[in-house]
């Protein structure tokens, strides 16, 4: 299932660790990097490499927000779902993104580009409302800014903004 190259890399990573288990999250991130999400097959295979049961790995995978157990779009938009962002109008941000990208909360847009999810406080309270897209954080969101960001993302798969 997993490409041999990745498998070798993971095996090395695990054997270098003091106990295999401590690499569980890193292994899942590596696989996700390549495949976008953790399928059941990938879970079983990763658990095998780690000497864990699939259940034990699933306990971790389903605990964390950043490990996806179902397919997600190319860009995962996570809107901060905590107190300060609530005060700064996070619901209208969600509504706007939903309408703009054509994706309900928890869903993926028909073109497979965007997935919209809530996320716990990301520590960007001073620039609320905030969101994370893949590994980038965006603060002080306004409809115009969201338009700009989503347009750029849609136009360029390689786009990165440093705001």
């Amino acid at each position: 299932m997993l490409p041999d190259e990745l498998k070798l890399k993971l095996e090395k990573m695990i054997s270098d660790a003091e106990s295999p288990r401590e690499k569980a999250i890193d292994v899942m991130f590596e696989i996700q990097e390549l495949q976008g999400w953790m399928s059941d097959e990938a879970m079983v295979e990763a658990a095998g490499l780690l000497g864990m049961t699939p259940l034990e790995l699933e306990e971790l995978a389903t605990f964390y927000d950043y490990i996806y157990r179902s397919p997600v779009g190319k860009y995962v938009i996570k809107v901060c779902d905590s107190t300060v962002c609530w005060l700064e109008g996070h619901q209208s941000i969600i509504d706007y993104i939903s309408a703009r990208a054509g994706v309900p909360m928890g869903g993926t847009s028909p073109d497979g580009l965007f997935t919209l999810l809530p996320v716990c406080c990301i520590g960007y309270c001073d620039r609320a409302p905030a969101m994370v897209i893949n590994k980038r954080v965006y603060g002080k969101l306004t409809p115009e800014k969201i338009d700009r960001i989503l347009d750029k993302l849609a136009n360029s798969a390689e786009f990165h903004e440093s705001e």
């Binding site: 879970m43 049961t53 699939p54 259940l55 034990e56 699933e58 306990e59 389903t62 605990f63």
Partner: protein
């Protein structure tokens, strides 16, 4: 000993006790969900809140998280604490469905009880309830996640306590879910305890669904008689059927839990075996007759045989299934009537092993399961705890959780639900490796051992140099040397006859070296302790009788709760021998091969229908109370006969000992009414002097007394030399037990059928190479009377020189000329 005051009552508790336990000592049951004595505290449910008034803590705190300390004053009834608990139960009930009327937990539900006692009656929450998709967890456990209150008891029990890794907590927050990675049968053979431990109805007993409400059940304290441990159970019956079995707490035996074989292996008693029904009515030559007629005919025919050939031509056959009452009655009848026997074992070697084990066991060194849990080093020699006595494996795991090293010396590629070091050893090498471990562990200075013990020790040391040394044994020995409370668990199934005695000497040597060493034998069955005592020094086994049946010395058999066909390794020979008999009287509750061949059959009652005493492997006598009278169940397919009668259909059965007394003890006028167990048990053996058949203490009585001083016989020496097997040397065939699929109980309980795995033969990879077979192959194995076909499992963890095959019910293995046979590698052929 901290002293504290709870609700104005003073109590002293051991250091380290939690406040919740201290209150329990006073009879104050603080409400709780997540806390369980066996699992410890996590503080997850917030239900056990109490008010701390004086002492190091103040205010409302969780009583399961705080150690009892001197000077504490605690109130469980303080208004603030009561209101706190009321809010907690309201919160826990927020998502809980209102399905109590149709829930299997209803009537025995902690959540239900504590909701009522907490005073929460009206739901204020108006939102949508959280719901889940449930999983299929196998044939025994029904999953209903909507009822979950997230106490974590299930995952803590399943993963931490019992050591299995396929059920646990998933997701987060409001989606929190307890289950498996995907639908499927739970892997743990201890999964039934989820039913007992869940404080609400997330896990319920699937086998008991849609049959009965809790409050309609007849309940009685019972025992499990599937293995020698004697786990305490509660039997639940309704409408003449046993509905379910639950674990009953016994601090020295099983604690809070039991295994699935014991929990679900009761359906034989309801008549529901897959292929044969339980025989309910007395029979003569296969035709149903009245109880009176069967008894009278049996008396008459036995008298005829005794008159014609002498009473010695009648032999009595019991088994390890027998209760103490049946065994003592068999002994009494044989003595007074001059019959041969009774025999309780089939394999003479197993009788000798069990007897030599008991000779060496006394109250000082015999340990209980609880003491195994507290051991700091465990050696398992020639025993498979998981398969031979399931709860012993859980006890070993508890020791392992407390960092005790576990070492197994066994020919089988054993599995235990904990970390352990396995030393593969053919039966002939178990003593050698055990001796190596012990001698290397003890200080060279053996002064104070006494001369004989020194001789024994020197012999161990001398033997050490003669053979190859298993890897890692010396580092293990070092840890054994540092231990204080080591325990040796010794088996009686695959071991040599000398091994039990040798092991006892090893334990005594450890004690001489200043350790609180303990000994735990795994015996072959629930009644084997008492049967070996009653067999005396010159007792025989069924295997010793068969020659005399063949040459006509024995003309009649009285077979009581026993089935030689199940245990005897040569079916053809046994069939011929049984055919040559003039009379077979069988008293049993299984529809066994012996019963179907009996000239006269009388139905025996099961442990659920009769009070029965069993003495477990550490010599603890315990009593199971009857839960119901029994008879053809009124549910499940068959309707009882539509005839008017004062008696219960199928209710003619008697306890086996009573039936035997009617047939061969009493006079026809008095019947069975003229004797009680208290009258005949004490006379049969000195160990049972104080016995009636009732009024036992809750935890049973230990029949083993401590002997003065340390008595060893110190004569045991390592028997076999230790050369490697030559290429052509035949492989030793070891027939072994599995938890599911090899016992008589699993043969006649359809409820266990779904737990039975396909049989396979284990062998070492070098032997497999010689025989030219690979892992996963199907092979034919040529035995004396034919061949068997079986899958092969090849492992380096199996000892060289042995083939291990389960006495599996789907395997026609009874084709061996003797109890122990050897097979040339050439007799194994790949199919």
């Amino acid at each position: 000993m901290p002293r504290l005051i709870i609700d104005d009552l003073e109590v002293d508790v051991p250091k380290g006790s939690k406040v919740i336990d201290a209150a329990e000592r006073l009879g104050i049951m603080i409400p709780r969900f997540c806390y369980h004595e066996a699992l410890g505290s996590v503080g997850a449910c917030r239900m056990c809140a109490v008010k701390f008034i004086q002492g190091p803590f103040k205010g409302v705190q969780m009583s399961c998280m705080i150690d009892a300390q001197d000077g504490m004053v605690v109130s469980t009834t303080d208004e603030e604490a009561v209101q706190f608990r009321q809010r907690v139960i309201e919160l826990l009930m927020m998502n809980h469905p209102l399905d109590c009327p149709v829930c299997d937990e209803g009537g025995q539900c902690l959540l239900q009880d504590e909701t009522v006692s907490g005073g929460h009656a009206i739901r204020r929450y108006r939102g949508k309830k959280r719901t889940y998709r449930d999983q299929y967890l196998g044939p025994y456990i029904q999953h209903e996640m909507n009822r979950c209150i997230h106490c974590y008891r299930c995952s803590r029990y399943y993963q931490e306590f019992s050591g299995y890794r396929d059920l646990g907590p998933l997701q987060i927050g409001d989606r929190m879910f307890f289950g498996r990675f995907s639908d499927g049968k739970l892997e743990s053979p201890f999964s039934g305890n989820l039913v007992d431990i869940c404080p609400t109805g997330v896990y319920t007993d699937k086998t008991a669904r849609f049959k009965v409400r809790r409050w309609d059940l007849h309940r009685a304290p019972s025992l499990c008689n599937h293995c020698p441990l004697g786990c305490n159970t509660i039997a639940n019956a309704h409408y003449r059927g046993v509905m379910r079995v639950e674990a009953r707490y016994n601090q020295d035996v099983n604690g809070y839990f039991i295994c699935d074989a014991g929990r679900f292996g009761f359906s034989y008693s309801n008549g529901g075996a897959l292929h044969e029904k339980r025989p309910w009515t007395p029979r003569i030559q296969g035709s149903d007759v009245s109880a009176k007629a069967a008894i009278a005919k049996a008396r008459e025919d036995l008298d005829n045989v005794a008159e014609k050939y002498g009473p010695g031509a009648i032999a009595a056959v019991g088994s390890a299934r027998n209760s103490l009452e049946s065994q003592c009655m068999l002994g009494k009848i044989c003595r007074t009537r001059g019959w041969r026997g009774p025999v309780f074992f089939t394999d003479p070697a197993k009788l000798r092993k069990t007897r030599s084990a008991l000779e060496r066991l006394d109250g000082d060194i015999a340990v209980s399961l609880r003491e195994i849990e507290n051991a700091d080093f465990i050696v398992i020699a020639g025993a498979d705890p998981l398969n031979e006595a399931g709860m012993a494996a859980l006890a070993v795991r508890q020791a392992s959780r407390k960092q005790a090293p576990i070492v197994t010396i066994d020919p089988r590629p054993l599995f235990l639900p904990c970390d352990f070091d396995h030393i593969p050893a053919a039966p002939g090498k178990i003593e050698l490796y055990l001796g190596m471990l012990i001698s290397a562990a003890l200080a060279k200075d053996s002064t104070g051992f006494g001369k004989e013990a020194v001789d024994f020790y020197s012999a161990l040391v001398a033997e050490k140099g003669k053979s190859e040394v298993p890897a890692g044994i010396f580092s293990l020995a070092e840890r054994l040397g540092a231990s204080q409370r080591p325990v040796i668990i010794c088996g009686t199934d695959v071991t040599r006859e000398t091994t039990p005695s040798f092991t006892a000497d090893c334990v005594r040597l450890l004690r001489l070296a200043g350790k609180q060493a303990g000994l735990f034998y795994l015996l072959p069955g629930a009644g084997s302790f008492s049967s070996a005592l009653l067999s005396g020094t010159d007792g025989e086994a069924f295997g010793d009788l068969i020659g005399d049946i063949e040459n006509g010395l024995i003309k009649a058999l009285v077979v009581v709760e026993s089935d030689p066909f199940h245990y005897y390794p040569d079916r053809v020979r046994l069939e011929r021998a049984m055919e040559s008999l003039e009379l077979v009287v069988a008293i049993d509750y299984f529809p066994s091969s012996t019963v179907s061949r009996a000239s006269i059959f009388y139905p025996a009652s099961t442990i659920f229908e009769t009070g029965a005493t069993y003495v477990n492997q550490e010599g603890r006598a315990q009593f199971a109370r009857p839960v119901h009278h029994g008879g053809v169940p009124v549910w499940g397919g068959e309707h009882p006969p539509r005839v008017y009668s004062n008696s219960i259909p199928g209710g003619d059965h008697l306890p086996a000992w009573k039936a035997l007394w009617e047939i061969a003890g009493s006079t026809p006028d008095t019947g069975a009414a003229d004797i009680s167990p208290g009258e005949f048990i004490p006379a049969e053996h000195a160990a049972f002097e104080a016995f009636g058949s009732d009024n036992y203490p809750v935890d049973g009585i230990r029949v083993l007394q401590g002997k003065a001083g340390l008595t060893g016989n110190w004569n045991s020496r390592i028997e076999e030399s230790s050369q490697r097997p030559e290429n052509a040397e035949p492989l030793e065939l070891l027939m072994v037990e599995w938890m599911f699929g090899t016992t008589e109980f699993s043969a006649w309980s359809d409820s266990l059928a779904s737990a039975i795995a396909e049989p396979y033969m284990s062998m070492n990879s070098k032997d497999a190479c010689r025989a030219g077979v690979c892992d996963g192959d199907r092979v034919s194995l040529e035995l004396d009377n034919g061949t068997i076909e079986i899958k092969v499992s090849v492992s380096d963890r199996a000892a060289e020189g042995v083939l291990v095959i389960p006495r599996h019910q789907s395997l026609d293995w009874r084709k061996m000329k003797d109890f122990s046979v050897r097979v040339l590698p050439g007799k194994i052929r790949k199919i």
